[in-house]
Symmetry: D3
């Protein structure tokens, strides 16, 4: 089984970190390959970054389809950018890390809080919680106020701030679990969970296991309805290669 | 990894069928053991059956805990009877097949319909959809009007009626996938999916893979909050053994 | 008119207290009889306690039906354990004290808060508020952190802590009424209301009056649909007597 | 105990009919008095009729307060016109017949449909269902297309059309009970229920019993918050008597 | 284009202020005329005031229709009193200032808070937010605790308290904009916005521009369904002139 | 006042048609300029098309900002692609035509249905209705099964099919208005409305008037919170020009 992890931003070092975190939880028979778009922002911290990254995600899926042999895709940014678009492009299951984390969190706790990087991206998590139907399971979306790339630049400081916010959530929110709200926190999960003393759910690792599950079930993205392959049509300009 | 499948009704032949369906999707390293309560109804087709079965589920989890070595539990009845109670009794993840099917269905289709056994149990699915947050993903809860044990007594007739209802759902509901609404349909999934021409999600098999995923992540039921072990207290009468 | 109050836990002294509180508000022509399951936990403080008590509730209803002459049942635990199951077993109306309190509270105030015993049982009230449709009428579910049996062991201390929590709710929540979240608080209502200076709704007393109302209207539990009598079937083991 | 039934329209014959229906279900010790505004529309079949009637309701409550000795008020039009306003004007409980019917219906059936007079007033019922929180308990709001005063002019034809619509609801909606959506149907309930073969809930009768219940509990409209007596101020023109 | 601003209370000085604020934002070709009911409360600070004012609003619309040449109506009280009723009485669009403010706020910010006059009227804003569908866009409804007429009596003190509450909202609520919750604040918008440093949306001015827009589109209130002209019928007593 | 209409697809003839429709409703002082991305799909009929077009929308806004003098932007595709992203890039208000149509429809009718091009894009409208909060105002999302470019290729046939679907909506849905679900239908509104006999709301024209309104109010996109300008960062590859 081959799961392709797509880091929607273009920071290769983060792709590597995410890929390693994914590999660490993968089943023995699972091959993990992590990649990133050729084009796009170095981090995703708002609606605009996310919109651009969505095309990168889609193109990365198309590249995977040309390459062949990929059984499932994981979109490793907590806004799940390009999720529905990506699902149109392949029969393989495509899973976003935000949805993965929410699904998993509801199976181990009755209420959870999200701890994300920046307050301004918290709204994206709120939108997803509402859209997916998990809003009433989530007590609060909190921000550690750590810019995404600081997760790499100064990981110790980042972990400390995230832990502090998690501890506030534990004390104030009446929750049973924490959801980490950024793909770049994938490798910090164990450390944070241990320090905070609560189950901590992280989306990259959650999505890998959900992807293994879907593939194991032989389930593929439905091609009946809105997730069918895109209707054939020309694309203009720099996207001409995306048309048919 | 050892996953204990609990068939909440007391029909051993159905337990066997469910266990086989579970085994068929389990990963190589996963041991499946299927069991059922010693006490309870032979099928679950309403609120009262469900209430009694919930205690059976809880006791079966307690038996599993005494036995030891169980990594996750699956509650294999589409009403998820006793789910929250069972979660209090163990650190192992506990997954209901209704929630499992709903989680999985939303990852491969934007909208689904449920096809269950009897109209009178459809309300239980509706309650769960609302409570879990999946109501807006589900177009309709439909009933094939097949009593649960008829799934075993006359499986060919049962499959035919279920397929007919699935085809109506496909034609009328604007959906991308079907969710089968009874644990006793676990072994019929492939056949129904092929005949209907839509992805068909079934809860027992879905739950096995989600359970493998949670165990693979090292995640356990949160003991912080309402899923903590029950507060110690005496139980009276026939439940004296449940007290402390 | 004969209303049977079912205390779902097995603590006889609490049954007596609840029965007296019920009697105090009953109409002249109403006979109140209070009882409790023969089997089950001495208090209900979580999902597991509740699941076991639900069977006790159902069996107590069946006993009432054999006895005959009962016009309505009240389930006197704030989680409304076994409510839907009990409704299947009788034509008489069955009312849970949580639903009763919520219904009544919305008729005298635009917003209310719940003050319950323990934080871990607050989640059960939250689930009911959502399921019944009252979530937006309730500002907050609060816990006085008084274990259920301490309501009897040290009632003065219990009242004091409950009053303190009610006063916090009055000051902070922007509410017009308090709902007491435990059947064991039935006899404390007047005292709490007077001290707090807000209308206080309590479920046992509320349910008695709603039951009188339904009986007075000649309305019975619908036997059309999911509340119809259970489908006949064998039950196994210790529940053999529940089968047909 | 004295319950004042307010028929919000100005048709005295309908007031009498409603009053009789109310009296028929009242407890022995309950005195029913039915009245109507001096000013307003002869029937309420839309938003404008309702707005005017709301003032009539409020003035009728004020008249009741001057009269004294009234323990509860019932607003006997299915749009609950002036309900919140009326609650500001008295300490006595005030109950609308739509809310009463919805509360009661949820206690005897898991799902119900509303059968009202005209399609154009169905939207008012929809708004109330959403505002009160009962939307998910109601399958459908249906109209028999009988103008309100035709309930009096040709009751046999009216009953027949209502019964036909109820039978359609029974056959198509998957419900356990019917809610009649007009105060003018109060006296038809028994006949309709018998013919249709479903529990039928009617708001006037339901509200009388809820009012008896609230009074029996000693509960009054909260004067803490938005239902407190109106802030004192002048009213101009024809409403000068309403000012202070 | 002629837009009629209806101040639902009977304080002429407030009508003038509102009219001036409306005029200030009106397009060159737009004629603004502001008026008020002949009958009703001098301010609207609760459900009762609102109910009475709704009839005044309706009559003012009827007067406008007799007068002729009015292209749109604005109801300039934040509870949108009589909105649906008014829509029945004319083909011209009718816009409430609360809905107007909510619509506009969602177009410039992802989340907003409301700052209204008194806590007891905040509930009216909550009801509208829920009914219109904007509840999840609004973080919090706050009150400056300024009675409506104090906006005129001591405007400087009023502005100061409103600004203070807005600053609290800005600091605590995670919002992008403020909605002012009273028509009497129409002329204070610019000053408050500048001081607070956030976009401030005010309903009177918002409604004028929405009204211009609807008229510019040639859209009128639908007469298909519940907003059709009232069914003809007699009105009794002081409302005889409203009947047909 | 200068309003820039962005047709998110790259079909210039459709841009022209949309621009003309916009111009026809613009106020005398309003300058309309219509444009389209240089890069992207020729029509938008699914999630993938939409994701690519979102970047085109964002770049077109950036071009507008470089150009200067633009007071508001309208995104003229019914999925509102790139709406939040675009709002980050400018202080000018940005309005999507789906939100515009929903806002306007709720001001002239209590319930509406959407008639869009293809069933597979209907889900996008459903998502927006839920996310914006308008789901309960919309009875049904219907599809005329007309591909987007057929609106230009064979407009008469297209209008006929759209009218047929609108008439079905009028007959079956209990609505007061129709919302047209595609920017390419902008010029057909008057004809469809006249034939169908219902108010028909179309998003491009609606958005122009809302944009004029926001500009007239002096309101701009909030730069406090998630709609603030993007955090500065490098973009890689073909998007390098988007970085800072």
């Amino acid at each position: 089984m081959h799961i392709r992890i797509i880091n929607p931003n273009t920071t290769a070092s983060m792709t590597a970190t995410i890929g390693e975190a994914a590999q660490r939880v993968a089943a023995p028979g699972t091959r993990i390959s992590a990649t990133q778009p050729e084009h796009g922002p170095v981090s995703i911290e708002g609606h605009f970054d996310e919109a651009v990254s969505a095309v990168g995600v889609a193109e990365t899926v198309l590249a995977g389809e040309r390459e062949g042999g990929i059984d499932a895709y994981v979109i490793a940014c907590f806004g799940d950018p390009g999720l529905a678009a990506a699902r149109e492009l392949t029969r393989a299951p495509v899973i976003g890390i935000a949805e993965a984390a929410f699904h998993v969190a509801t199976m181990i706790a009755t209420r959870f809080s999200v701890v994300t990087t920046l307050a301004r991206t918290g709204i994206i998590a709120e939108h997803l919680l509402q859209s997916y139907g998990f809003a009433h399971h989530c007590r609060r979306v909190r921000a550690a106020e750590v810019p995404v790339l600081d997760l790499e630049r100064d990981p110790d400081a980042a972990v400390q701030r995230i832990v502090e916010e998690c501890l506030r959530a534990k004390a104030e929110d009446g929750i049973g679990a924490i959801v980490l709200g950024c793909g770049g926190m994938a490798h910090m999960r164990a450390q944070i969970s241990e320090t905070v003393g609560l189950p901590v759910v992280e989306g990259v690792t959650a999505a890998v296991k959900l992807a293994e599950g879907l593939v194991g079930l032989g389930l593929q993205t439905s091609k009946h309805g809105d997730l069918d392959f895109p209707r054939p049509k020309p694309f203009i300009g720099r996207y001409a290669h995306l048309g048919t």
